[in-house]
């Protein structure tokens, strides 16, 4: 909700104070002010500390342009994106399918839940050395590590959603004569869709962490490796370039999931937006 139409008059009558209030009411003005303040603060701090601690905004932008022009950043981004996308996609499909199965078919849940709990409890990072022994130092290990990072949040969220299908709606469907199979299709699956999207939101975040950690610690490619290399060589201005890429990726992912939610869950009345 933007209220840009209201504050104009108050600003004229009551001076600076009202102007600030008016600006605070307008989200766009607030966003711009926040960004300007952030860069100003950064500039001031960076002018007063050695560049090895914090580079100036200008030098970061210059490094970003240089790394982009040389192709290094572009190649690294590609090296990061494809194992990320493949790992996340497989995790999404497997996690959703297994989550639905476990949520709907209780015997399967009884058999598999203990394993899932144990595997989920193990910190992801502990798998990496094992994966290297099994799959070598390469993209396969990265894909599998991303998969492991993302599959559990997807699975557990979808399982919880499928279990929680509204029992009243199931009863209504039964009264209309729906068979078990029909009710699954027409009631349980659709009511799980919001959970499938919610799972994807968490899974995508975990997958992003997974790919960066994998590349940074072990496989030495892509964005993760740029962090490691420019961190160790203390080339901080360049260090910020992959950081910007990750931030942009994260925002883009979030936007994509929001969009997916609006397409897939058009029936939700949103209380806050």
């Amino acid at each position: 909700m933007t209220q840009s139409s209201i504050p104009l008059e108050t600003a004229g009558t009551n001076g600076t104070r009202s102007l600030i209030v008016a600006a605070a009411r307008n989200y766009y003005v607030m966003s711009v002010l926040s960004v300007v303040a952030f860069f100003a603060l950064w500039q001031i701090v960076s002018m007063n500390v050695p560049p090895i601690i914090l580079p100036t905004p200008a030098s970061v932008i210059a490094a970003f342009v240089q790394l982009t022009a040389s192709g290094e950043l572009v190649v690294a981004t590609a090296e990061t994106i494809w194992p990320f996308v493949v790992g996340l996609a497989v995790a999404f499909v497997v996690g959703t399918a297994l989550g639905l199965l476990l949520g709907i078919f209780r015997p399967a849940a009884r058999v598999l839940d203990p394993y899932i709990f144990v595997f989920w409890s193990i910190p992801n990072i502990a798998w990496l050395p094992l994966f290297i022994a099994w799959f070598g130092v390469g993209d396969l290990t990265l894909v599998i590590f991303v998969f492991i990072s993302a599959v559990f949040p997807q699975l557990l969220t979808v399982e919880a959603g499928a279990k929680e299908a509204d029992s009243f709606l199931v009863e209504v469907a039964r009264s209309l004569g729906g068979t078990k199979h029909e009710i699954l299709r027409a009631v349980v699956l659709p009511s799980s869709i919001p959970y499938i999207v919610a799972g994807l939101r968490i899974a995508a975040g975990r997958a992003l962490v997974g790919i960066i950690v994998g590349q940074l610690l072990i496989v030495a490619t892509g964005i993760g490796y740029m962090f490691q290399f420019y961190g160790e060589t203390l080339a901080l201005a360049k260090y910020f370039a992959p950081l910007i890429v990750v931030a942009v990726l994260a925002v883009a992912l979030n936007r994509a999931v929001n969009w997916a939610e609006q397409v897939l869950v058009p029936w939700k009345s949103r209380a806050f937006t």
Binding site: F168, L169, E171, V172, A173, R174, S175, L176, G177, G178, T179, E182, A186, V187, P190, S191, I193, V265, P266, W267, K268, S269
Partner: protein, 257 residues
């Protein structure tokens, strides 16, 4: 005309202490074909249990429920239920919600042209033309229950089972929907078994009011309502006969409170 019959129906529930709670015992009631019969009684008297058993949603312990002489067990395609909680699928549009009742009746996903037309005319019947593509959350409570009615009626049921369908609506909307229900019933002429705790509603709508006593549920009194129809055409509630029936029924119900 289809006839619904409860014969010596007994139903118990497990109580938290482990013993059985007797909800209905030896319950016998005949709902004659084409009649509008309302069951009224204090909460906990087993009236909703009765309806859910007739709808095939819960099993009986013993006895039988018969539809035109044959024993009912599972939800029958000849019946439709309308619930107080309505139970529209929030991800389906209004038209798709009405379609669901037909899809589950025929066990086919695809609607025939005839079914498409049926949905259209039924929605028109309940005054929802133009709302086909809305989602349930975009409608008021009264409109949502109209969809619930349309979903039930599109199945062209021989028996309509209604479980306090207007209980959650405000008084004005309830009065409007009562009139609409009577008008619709005048056209479809199915047999109706209606549950309510609202005495005025019971008398206003029904040919016969069945008053139930406390647990275990049993029939306490049966009142025939002979007020002329259509009742939405005049002020029924001002009739002397209405007041007389209301006084008898109220006395009977009060004893159970």
């Amino acid at each position: 005309m289809p006839e619904l019959e409860f014969v010596n129906v007994r139903k118990t529930y497990a109580s938290p202490t482990g013993d059985r709670l007797l909800a209905l015992d030896n319950f016998t009631l005949k709902v004659e074909g084409g009649r509008f019969v309302t069951v009224i009684g204090p909460s906990g008297c087993g009236k909703t249990t009765l309806l859910r058993m007739a709808g095939g949603l819960i099993p009986l312990d013993s006895g039988e429920i018969r539809l035109d002489g044959s024993v009912l067990a599972n939800p029958s395609p000849k019946m439709s239920m309308v619930f107080q909680g309505i139970g529209l699928m929030p991800w389906r549009t209004i038209a798709a919600n009405v379609a669901l009742g037909l899809q589950f009746q025929s066990h086919r996903q695809r609607l025939t042209d005839e079914e498409e037309r049926l949905i259209e005319t039924t929605l028109a019947l309940v005054g929802l033309t133009g709302f086909e593509h809305y989602y349930p959350h975009q409608l008021s409570g009264g409109m949502q229950q109209r969809v619930g009615l349309a979903r039930a009626l599109a199945r062209q049921p021989e028996i309509l089972l209604m479980d306090e369908p207007f209980g959650a609506l405000d008084a004005q909307t309830r009065a409007v929907l009562q009139d609409e229900l009577l008008a619709l019933w005048g056209r479809v002429k199915s047999t109706v078994l209606f549950i309510t705790h609202d005495l005025d509603e019971a008398i206003y709508l029904s040919d016969r009011v069945v008053i139930m006593g406390r647990r275990p549920g049993r029939i306490k009194e049966v009142l025939d309502v002979n007020l002329p129809r259509p009742r939405y055409g005049y002020d029924v509630r001002a009739e002397h006969e209405f007041a007389r029936l209301r006084a008898i029924a109220w006395k009977s119900i009060r004893e159970e409170l």
